[in-house]
């Protein structure tokens, strides 16, 4: 890949990839490392891309994989059982913004991934399924559970009576996990 093209990609997608990485690892410093790793892999990639959108999806997929790999490395698995507390970097978002962000960041990684890709990147369920390597049905289910858990966090007492409770969702709400 020539430098001009590479530079254009970095400038255009760096922030987006960092956000994907952050959604995956919840740590701004790890997100920066992951972002660098993603673009390093891009610099070494010898395949071809159809268009810029293809490039972005490739970068997003690598970022998701790298985020997963981070917490499955032997060092991490031996030094920390759970994901870390949120190391939250953004400033000045107002109360409602921080509540939402905290609610999303409190989700398990697989739910944060779909939330970010669906709401921020505005990918379709099919595209998300392709990035994450899961079925479309699994994407819908994860989104449903993620939304439910977010609602539990933001308004635990105000759930609508018609809400359908899944066993896991109900258990999570009751235990506050």
């Amino acid at each position: 890949m020539d430098k001009e093209k590479y530079t254009h990609i970095v400038i255009r997608y760096y922030d987006d990839i960092k956000r994907v990485a952050y959604a995956g690892c919840k740590n701004i410093y790890d997100a920066e490392d992951i972002t660098q790793t993603v673009f390093l892999k891009l610099s070494q990639y010898t395949g071809s891309f159809e268009d810029d959108e293809h490039i972005k999806k490739w970068l997003v997929k690598v970022a998701v994989n790298e985020s997963r790999s981070l917490w499955r490395s032997p060092w991490r698995s031996k030094s920390a059982v759970d994901e870390p507390d949120i190391i939250y970097h953004p400033a000045d978002m107002g109360d409602s913004g921080s509540d939402v962000m905290e609610a999303v960041m409190s989700l398990k990684r697989k739910y944060r991934e779909v939330i970010h890709l669906f709401y921020y990147e505005e990918y379709s369920a099919r595209e998300i399924a392709g990035v994450l390597g899961i079925s479309e049905n699994a994407v819908f289910k994860r989104l449903e559970r993620a939304r439910y858990q977010i609602r539990c966090r933001l308004n635990p007492k105000g759930l609508a009576a018609t809400d359908t409770l899944r066993d896991t969702g109900e258990a999570i709400c009751k235990t506050g996990i």
Partner: protein
């Protein structure tokens, strides 16, 4: 707060995550560094490794066909030169099931004191006695660390090689392996008993085999996929405090599995007649064809930590486990650079090897080696 508000707030929050110009410049500079650095493993080595795998597979197929002359001969061939410890380990039981014109041979591993039984590996043969290709065919039954420590261990491992995907659900009670075949999908579902107070009432000894078509298999796979695998973690139960954590956990998992699997008619087999022997699994040494494969087994984590492939000429390739992902166990080949490594059934960026507890299985179609951006089959 409705969904649109949540979406808007999340987007606004995330927009505060961005990189400064210095970091972007550093990333841009990576291109210069990457182009001047060494490429990593040589193509020659990758081709040699690919050729070695292919030889291994050919040897396996040949041995499998030879083994059809009798299972006893099969075992004798494999283990006659092994040491006593290995003979002890592998003098477990074999179970043959005839389903839909196929013969499925299961090799088991049993323990005496804790009465834990597990299916170590299986092979599938057609009516003509020819081996049916399977991919990722071994369930590693997790082992308790000590007899007085009651552990309910459950995980779902997702294996993928080429276009085939399957799930292996492991826990102390239930084990499922999925074997894709040409027309039907076999799911071997073994329910094994643990002779511990916590599970006495829940002990199962029947072995079930489900044969599904492609559509049913996809439904089952989808349902198992949504069992929320993050909840299926190792759980310890302290018998002194009589916490019900494990039991509750087991009930939830067991009920979820039962509700999924009960939709299908299983073929039930009773395996209580299998003999129980004292075994100790630490290291296994198997000889397959012209390659010796030595594996180091970690009973606590119930997986293989490393293995060495030794070619006929004595050259060895050492594999060490790097990490476990949803896609399988990822292996690292010593001597490669950081970004190039061999893996178990892994992602597009890694080697794909059907690697499991005792065998390396695969075919030309299913063994894919990806290194330095190039694909070798």
């Amino acid at each position: 707060m409705n969904e649109e508000q949540i979406k808007w707030n999340y987007k606004v929050s995330m927009n505060n995550i961005y990189g400064d110009q210095n970091k972007k410049r550093a990333v841009i500079a990576l291109l210069d560094n990457a182009s001047s650095s060494a490429a990593g493993i040589s193509v020659k080595n990758v081709f040699r490794t690919a050729a070695a795998f292919f030889c291994c597979i050919l040897a396996l197929v040949g041995l499998s066909a030879w083994a059809m002359t009798g299972n006893t001969a099969f075992r004798r061939f494999f283990f006659e030169d092994s040491d006593e410890e290995f003979d002890t380990v592998y003098d477990g039981y074999q179970k043959e099931l005839i389903v839909g014109g196929y013969k499925i041979v299961f090799d088991g591993l049993v323990y005496e004191d804790s009465v834990k039984q597990g299916i170590l590996s299986f092979s599938v043969w057609d009516a003509e006695g020819q081996p049916v290709e399977v991919n990722g065919n071994v369930m590693q039954l997790p082992l308790d660390m000590e007899l007085n420590e009651y552990t309910c261990y459950t995980c779902i491992q997702h294996y993928k090689a080429g276009e085939d995907e399957w799930y292996i659900l492991l826990n102390n009670i239930n084990g499922i392996s999925v074997m894709p075949s040409e027309n039907n999908i076999f799911i071997a579902f073994s329910m094994l008993g643990l002779d511990t107070p916590a599970y006495t009432e829940r002990g199962f000894t029947d072995f079930q085999l489900l044969m599904l078509d492609g559509e049913d298999y996809r439904k089952l796979k989808s349902d198992i996929d949504e069992l929320d695998t993050d909840d299926l973690l190792e759980v310890r139960w302290d018998p002194v405090s009589e916490s019900n954590t494990v039991i509750d956990h087991y009930d939830r998992v067991g009920e979820a599995l039962s509700s999924i699997l009960n939709r299908y008619d299983p073929l039930t087999f009773d395996i209580t007649e299998f003999p129980v022997q004292i075994v100790q699994v630490e290291n296994l040494k198997l000889t397959i064809g012209r390659m010796n494969i030595m594996m180091e087994y970690d009973p606590k984590e119930c997986t293989v930590n490393s293995f060495t492939m030794i070619r006929e000429n004595g050259e060895s390739i050492n594999f060490t486990r790097e990490f476990i992902s949803e896609a399988g166990i990822h292996w690292k080949v010593e001597g490669l650079t950081d970004n190039q490594y061999a893996a178990g059934v892994g992602t597009d960026e890694q080697f794909r090897v059907c690697c499991n507890f005792g065998f390396i299985m695969g075919s030309e179609e299913k063994v894919t080696i990806v290194a330095n951006g190039n694909t070798y089959r």
